[in-house]
Symmetry: C2
């Protein structure tokens, strides 16, 4: 997935380097995304009560800076999480060094870290790395690709996408990179996503767009239900395209659609790169009393180890799916419940349906699996994307040693 | 675990048979527990919104019969779940056949089924099996052991225990059997527990004791977080010991302790027999603002696939434990959070602790693992028991085919 990159929108540069945080010398481990113009920004952070120093600091910065953001500085290989006061001081030093090198205010940049938990950041390496990354800033596809790799940990593929859309006759772009393979993989993961656009937009409106987009993308995926201490999604809008969106109008809707495309593409890429994943599974819950109830049921199915192992075994085990729906804490009516797997009706209004089991079994060999549960209770629906649970997942996570 | 059995209390008999529901001919698949005297009973059922016909019917019976229960009739090999109206008729037929054979009222017996989902009960076999089981009723250890085996599905070990306690100078007994290896294992599991006692007790008081006991035993275990459609816990008290407990006094407390011993022994036996389990893990959360918050955090840790795979890999991965606590939806203060694994301090008030890693690593090879998380927020605590997530779990559940 390298159609377009984080520096596709006008006025953005990226620079990255190997500064020695990771052990493997050919791995990039520090990257900077920089807007040549004053810009607005918005960010969402993990809701985990145990959150890392860079999350704590970036939350403060975005409040203090009133939504003016011009740069992201990210390191991989060390999460700077569970590191106490020293961790917070190190994060602050990362900000001041980067601000000095980029010649911007300390209130105009956000930082993020991903990697091992509970170890101090190697600050000498970080300081040198920031200087090198700033010196390497550029806006080619190669710069964008390197930036996408610089934030990877257990990811097996870089995740980067951009889209060009027309607003009011003018071309604007949205670009994005993401990383993540377990919601948190041991001490070496986290979900990160950085977005850029050359639209100009007030920070509040941008923040609303980002929240909307995250709701329908990153908040709809689950690999193992384990939330990271470092999750961060952030966007910068620099106005370099000459297009300004200042109110809730058709232009904003067009922009939202473009942003949604970028975030859902990246979110799905994370699921497809899920630790040990062999299947990409879409779970649609239809006919719920509210979206929230649809979400809870879809998540309950997606997070069930029994459903995930059945998918891994390519078995259309509808009993596991229906019973996982049943314990989601939502009132159901079994006699109205209907289930399709890969568009084949298998459970109809509370009773097993007569279906062509050969066709169904054959369809389970597909990489993409569709599960559609109809509740018959109302008009709301939701979709969650997940992957299967494989021997490889156990191997990756049981054989990893701290 | 065969110290004592379900017919240890006076005035109880058990009978079991192979009637042809299971494929393996040497497996028992139908059993009956019967009290020679009029008795009171109490039962708890799955809270899954998709619940099986026997659960639906037994719920009605216990309400209608005003807590008079003299018998349990249980089949394994077929759960009679997701079977629609026919399933309910079959359950009713199971009740009327058993009541006629046992010469008791249809309001005096509870039924339970466990096994494959979505297939009609083979009623001819069940009817014949009930007659055979009634003819084989007896009160020896062999009768009790056979009864424990008759309710097994994917279980590898029978789970049976009894305790003798003194109340008011007289000996009374509590016996129990249980089955379960996954909370629900595919189409072949469920958690069932049947208890007997020769104490006499009003149904309401008995029901309260059972709820208390379940709270501190079966409601404190999790193997894979997947709740069954058929879970049932039920007790009969027949008064054969001559001891009556009719109010909340010291005798009741003594009885409650005995019942708690039986239920927690059986609950732990289920975890130890968990699908693919190689570790028995106790998670203590201490210093919470409420018991509910302690429970939520303990469950969040217990159900994290990342924690479970680390335990399987015998790795003391404290980052996964602390971050799982962080997403339980409970407000935490990292700087007050402290973690012990196998009584070794590894995370102290928000910072990694200096500890003897060799000793810690060696202790991870134990079959029993203790995790103690101290929150420093209040005076409440809770304990949850779970097991690890192994390759064997994936094999059992991915290779099972419907």
């Amino acid at each position: 997935m390298t159609t377009g990159c984080i520096v596709a929108p006008l006025g953005f540069q990226a620079g990255s380097t190997y500064c020695g945080i990771k052990i493997a010398k050919d791995s990039l481990d520090l990257g900077i995304i920089f807007s040549a113009y004053p810009s607005t920004g918005a960010a969402l952070f993990t809701t985990n009560q145990i959150y890392a120093a860079p999350v704590k600091l970036s939350r403060k910065i975005i409040q203090k800076g009133m939504g003016c953001v011009r740069a992201f500085v990210i390191n991989s290989g060390n999460a700077n999480a569970c590191t106490g006061e020293q961790g917070y001081k190190d994060a602050a030093e990362m900000v001041s060094t980067a601000a000095a090198c980029l010649k911007i205010s300390e209130d105009e940049l956000l930082i993020a870290s991903t990697g091992i938990i509970g170890r101090p950041l190697p600050m000498e390496k970080i300081t040198a790395g920031i200087q090198t990354a700033v010196n390497s800033l550029g806006n080619t596809q190669a710069h964008g690709d390197a930036m996408a790799r610089a934030i990877m940990t257990t990811d097996t593929k870089q995740k980067s996408v951009a889209i060009r859309i027309k607003i009011n006759g003018k071309e604007v772009s949205v670009g994005g990179i993401a990383k993540g393979a377990g919601m948190i993989a041991p001490n070496l993961a986290t979900m990160l996503c950085f977005l850029t656009t050359d639209v100009s937009m007030p920070a509040e409106l941008l923040s609303e767009c980002l929240r909307n987009s995250a709701e329908s993308s990153f908040n709809r995926i689950t690999i193992d239900g384990h939330m990271s201490t470092n999750d961060t999604i952030a966007i910068i809008a620099n106005g370099a395209s000459g297009v300004t969106i200042a109110e809730k109008n058709n232009d904003l809707r067009t922009f939202q659609q473009g942003l949604d495309y970028v975030t859902s593409t990246l979110a799905k890429a994370i699921v497809m790169d899920g630790e040990g994943a062999t299947k990409f599974v879409q779970i649609d819950v239809i006919g719920a009393r509210s979206r929230n109830e649809a979400t809870r049921i879809a998540r309950s199915i997606a997070d069930s180890p029994l459903v995930k192992t059945a998918l891994n075994g390519e078995d259309p085990n509808w009993g596991r799916i229906v019973s996982a729906a049943g314990y989601a804490g939502v009132e159901l009516d079994e006699s109205k419940t209907t289930l399709y797997i890969n568009d084949i009706l298998i459970f109809a209004k509370g009773m097993p349906a007569q279906c062509d089991l050969n066709t169904l079994s054959a369809s389970m060999k597909n990489k993409d699996i569709m599960i559609r549960l109809e509740l018959g209770l109302g008009n709301y629906r939701d979709t969650v994307w997940t992957c299967d649970l494989s021997h490889e997942y156990v191997t990756i996570n049981a054989e990893y040693h701290t």
